[in-house]
């Protein structure tokens, strides 16, 4: 089981925002830092850290932090709630 803290940290550092800004409801395109260019940076950071490779349809559905957490379950990446 991975920690939420670590999960948020990866996302925050990929898009270069403070970790406090990251929460379950943070949504794609909601902040300028999370745009179409940085979306793949999040994806790549998560893939690298958790050693997985996401299917593209799943990447397209990673519209919020909460949804990313959900999607990762499919890849046996479990982040504690």
């Amino acid at each position: 089981m991975h920690t939420t803290d670590e999960f948020y940290e990866i996302i925050a550092s990929a898009i270069a925002v403070k970790k406090e800004l990251v929460n379950e409801n943070l949504t794609y395109q909601e902040i300028p830092e999370w745009d179409s260019m940085s979306h793949l940076l999040i994806v790549e950071a998560l893939e690298q850290f958790y050693q997985v490779k996401f299917d593209f349809n799943d990447i397209l559905e990673m519209g919020t932090v909460g949804k990313i957490r959900e999607k990762m379950k499919k890849y046996d990446v479990l982040v504690e709630n």
Partner: protein, 449 residues
Amino acid sequence: MFTDASSGATTPVGTLYRSLGLNPVEKGLIFLYNDNQLSSVEVLLNFYGTAHAIAVLGQKLHPEFKERLEAEYRPKYIFDPSRDEVQGYELKEFSETVKIFAKKDYKSEVVIHPEIKILLSTSGTTGIPKLVKLSDENLYQNAISILQYMPILETDVVPLNVPINFVYGFSIFTTNCMRAGRIVCTDKDIMQKAFWDEMEEYGYSTLGGVPYLYENLNRIGFFRKDSTSLRYMTHTGGVINAELRKTIFSYCHEFDKQFFAQYGQTEAGGRMAYLTTDGLLEEETSIGTPVYGGSFQIDPETDELLFLHSSISGGYANKLEDLSTYEQPKLLHTGDTGRRGQNGLYYITGRIKRIMKLFGIRLNLDEVEFILKNELEGNTVVCLNGNDKKIIVLYDNKDIDPQIITETIKNKLRINPQYVRTEHIESFPLSQNGKINYPLLQNLQHEKI
């Protein structure tokens, strides 16, 4: 006539400015912080029908730039759905989706030149906004040129997936307004499932974008299968890498699609040159041939590529007074150096100005240096182009915290730190005249890449 596809409600063009009690022959200035959705497009078209000049600025413009521009130009109207209030303005409601800020006690301070219709920022969301003055005639002539080669059909369904505050997005909008069947006003992008759902639902005939879009399409496996409604794709904003060009060519060949690579600039009112699908196979990337009605010349002394067309803009505005003039030059200095090949195609060989393209967005490196210098209390930094992939920032004062550099670039230019490389250098090499030797520094960087 506008139709809201979700509700079916229709509104005739012109309703908006009449309901606001505007005088259609008066020439004031409106700031449009648009997205690509229906209400922005509705406001744009309503005001386009009046004598007003419209600065199409984009919703994502940094608040600090908004403030600066508003302080400078004191526009009569502001459309900005992201704000509830603007000091000195009152909010007039037109409908649920369209609310416009009108300046209190507005007095006209400058006579806006009758030719000025649209103002577009040269640097998109980055840099210090400098506005390009475009006339209705500029935009019309550019659209006519594009229509000569773009295979637009009356049955086409076109997504506005490029922001219309970029001249490329604007030309997609104008040309398709003139000839296509339906335009879908959307802000969805290809990284969202909703975009593909909409593509399926409406049957998009075309897609357009900068090289980055094509890299992403490749990643999602788009070129492996047919999207039946799609007939052609357009591109601008820099070179697509050789491998991807081959992939796109095979895709076009296998599924009977067309691809148009284009070369353009805001100052040219849109597109300057284009290359058809076969051009993807060229060993060296060419910009193709000039659009209809246009021609290129090469400056014999500097090799600079010069463009001639009736779509060339009437100059820049840096301040309010600049709106009183519109002077169309005979020639546009593109800032790129070029050559004409034996085959009649044109090739870009370099850039005269220190400009790089990051994700298709033009960044003036001198401006980036200026911004950093201000933030670093006058310390000298040198910004270099890392292959149009990264900004390289060199600094010689080892007390500088490189994080301040990346933070500043992130905050002021909205560029992710991953696309910035900072590097400490003992001292900057100088050329004979005592200035920093940029060519030498740039060459040293090339060796590293």
